[in-house]
């Protein structure tokens, strides 16, 4: 029996490569200052979806909410075997916290036909692990978080092993389900050459527009618009168009999106500087070390 999988992915700043100027004064992230990558555990979610497709048939749709540049990870998903890619992008999405984000994404997922929704356990920029469970609540479907292994999929039921504190449990539930997938679950595949060939020109309308405007600064607005329209139609015919949805298309209630839809606000941001009060250099010699040990015993730090 085929299953339709919807996989939620996020483009994140590579927090391992963080540099000093990554924050704006208002406490938001200056994403431009950091390399942007495919959130690692979302690759595990995508891999799970692709394995389901290979085994049982069905489709894999990758969705992301983000800036136009997030089309990069949608292409990355197509290169790995996803069938369809959707970019949810809108200025009014800006400053969404997890509650607003899960609301917006729920509006998008509701437009799709799905059996299984997959997310990475958490994203490395916020490490909150909140959007998955919140999305499941908004879709009214069963969440299974911290999935470590997909064990069985049969008769409309799914069995997985998930992490619990200091151990694991094996659980079964009826579809539809939302899974959040950990990096234990599998080894994500690398892009396949045949899909790179097929999809290297896949683009979202906003990217098409930007490219055409850049290349045709001399043309008048009407002509530019025509070029954009034509190019989008060509891509669509070749099945190379990354779908692009805005909040209007999603019929989302603006009050629950962006800043107004986000109960959490930033009060303050501090960069981390930790320093010890009163420190000593210890000579790396037998007597230096011995004196230190003696001192620690005397003050009863070591018994």
């Amino acid at each position: 029996m085929p299953y339709n999988c919807v996989c939620l992915i996020k483009q994140v700043p590579d927090t391992k490569k963080i540099s000093g100027q990554a924050m704006n004064d208002d406490g938001t992230v200056n994403r431009a200052a950091l390399p942007a990558i495919f959130n690692p555990e979302d690759l595990n979610a995508l891999e799970t979806a692709l394995q389901i497709k290979e085994r049982y048939g069905g489709t894999v749709t990758a969705i992301t909410m983000g800036l136009p540049s997030a089309a990069d990870i949608l292409r990355e998903s197509l290169y790995r075997g996803a069938d369809d890619a959707i970019l949810v992008t809108d200025r009014k999405c800006a400053a969404s916290d997890t509650l607003a984000t899960s609301y917006i994404i729920s509006c998008a997922v509701k437009k799709l036909d799905y059996d299984i929704v997959l997310c990475g356990r958490q994203a490395i920029d916020g490490d909150t692990a909140q959007v998955g469970p919140q999305l499941a609540e908004k879709l009214g479907i069963t969440p299974i978080t911290y999935m470590e292994e997909l064990q069985e999929l049969a008769n409309g039921r799914i069995t997985v092993r998930r992490a619990i504190e200091n151990g694991w449990q094996k659980v079964r539930t009826k579809l539809p389900v939302l899974l959040t997938v950990t990096d234990e679950a599998n080894e994500p595949r690398v892009p396949a050459a045949k899909f790179i060939m097929k999809y290297k020109n896949a683009m979202a309308p906003i990217e098409v527009e930007k490219a055409i405007r850049n290349d045709n600064t001399a043309l008048d607005e009407q002509a530019v618009k025509q070029l954009i329209e034509d190019e989008i139609r060509v891509l669509e015919e070749k099945n190379l168009l990354i779908k692009q949805w805005d909040l209007g298309f999603l019929e989302a209630d603006i009050n629950w999106c962006g800043r107004s839809g986000s109960p959490t606000k930033v009060h303050r941001i501090q960069s981390v500087v930790l320093t010890a009060k009163g420190s000593k250099e210890v000579e790396p010699t037998e007597s230096g070390v011995s004196d230190m040990v003696h001192e620690l015993i005397k003050e009863k730090t070591i018994a």
Partner: protein, 342 residues
């Protein structure tokens, strides 16, 4: 969503598994007690399960004024749906101003689901909680006595203070070990409030077919002295020097994530943002660079000894004793000195 309710209580979700209270809610009690006192409201623990009433007294001893006790056979095992539904209903009934949860796997499963259905804000993995005022810059409006939810963000590179002034309750999860465990006071008295859960079998969305837990290989949180080795130790074989020093001191052996990833030692020993948070009397770091994510788990140690052959290693910035040299030379000298003295 509930509106701002200044009389609302401070709540702690008292996670229990198999009839045993988890550590995190107990650790949270001391901080929650302070928050409630500052706000002049009651501190309540929310205890759910099947036949768990004997745990209620303990929550009082750890600082609760009140325990909401919800017993139901469908609450025997934690499940997102049944627990979230019950907590959701209780929040609507009593309108607490603050709801805190341990950032355990269950807490991180439950809290977002409840926040979503209640339409409240939630901050994950806080390392500190305080009460303070916030001025909205645009309107100059001042919101008094808010919950300041302090957490590392961006892979631990910054500390953000998050607030939530219009849609309550103010919800936060707190990582295990971040708050010190309070001493129970057996003479404390509190009120036990029994509540009913309205659940049917249809609410049990998931079947638990099998479950397996094992005790942690090491109890880092309880250790007075910790000896941590990093990637600089070089190999699993050479990690012996860390075990030897730990043995000489009666200390617990620990490691950085890099050392764990290299297979030098089991993940149970990892200290840091994605490992255990510790606050021992003495923390010895050998061959540890002192990445911010590692510091997040150990910078509250009372004394820190750093052994590193790179004089610019960041660990030296927070060390009380800085030993610049090769750990393979220094650690044996330490073991020798300890054996001579003790």
């Amino acid at each position: 969503m509930i509106s701002v309710n200044r009389q609302g209580e401070v709540w702690v979700f008292a996670e229990q598994n198999e009839g045993k209270l988890a550590d995190t809610p107990l650790e949270l009690m001391s901080k929650a007690r302070k928050l409630a006192d500052k706000l002049g409201v009651k501190l309540a623990a929310v205890l759910m399960g099947d036949q768990v009433s004997e745990l209620a007294e303990r929550l009082v001893q750890y600082g609760a004024d009140k325990v909401y006790l919800i017993e139901h056979h469908l609450l025997e095992h934690y499940q997102a749906n049944t627990y979230a539904k019950t907590l959701h209903d209780l929040i609507h009934k009593y309108e607490p101003q603050v709801v805190l949860c341990g950032a355990t796997i269950n807490g991180r499963d439950l809290a977002p689901r409840v926040a979503s259905s209640v339409k409240a804000g939630l901050t994950a993995d806080c390392t500190d909680l305080q009460i303070g005022d916030h001025e909205v810059k645009a309107t100059k409006e001042v919101h008094k006595n808010l919950l300041f939810q302090v957490r590392p963000a961006f892979g631990g590179n910054i500390i953000a203070t998050i607030i939530n002034y219009d849609r309550w309750p103010q919800m936060a999860t707190v990582r295990e070990g971040v708050m010190p465990m309070p001493e129970p006071d057996v003479s404390r008295k509190g009120q036990i409030v029994e509540e009913k859960a309205t659940l049917t079998k249809e609410d049990l969305l998931v079947e638990i077919l099998d479950q397996h837990t094992r005790p942690k290989k090491v109890d880092l949180k309880a250790a007075r002295v910790i000896v941590a080795g990093g990637a600089g130790v070089g190999s699993k074989d050479n990690f012996r020097v860390i075990w030897d020093l730990a043995n000489a001191l009666g200390a617990a052996p620990a490691a950085t994530r890099a050392a764990v990833d290299l297979g030098f030692i089991d993940k149970d020993h990892q200290v840091g943002q994605t490992g255990t948070t510790v606050r021992p009397s003495l923390y010895i770091a050998a061959g540890v660079s002192g990445a911010i994510q590692h510091q997040a788990g150990m910078s509250d140690s009372q004394k820190i000894i750093a052994i590193n052959n790179d004089p610019d290693a960041p660990i030296f910035q927070i060390a009380h004793y800085k030993i610049c040299g090769d750990l393979n030379d220094i650690v044996p000298k330490m073991i020798k000195a300890i054996k001579e003295r003790i």
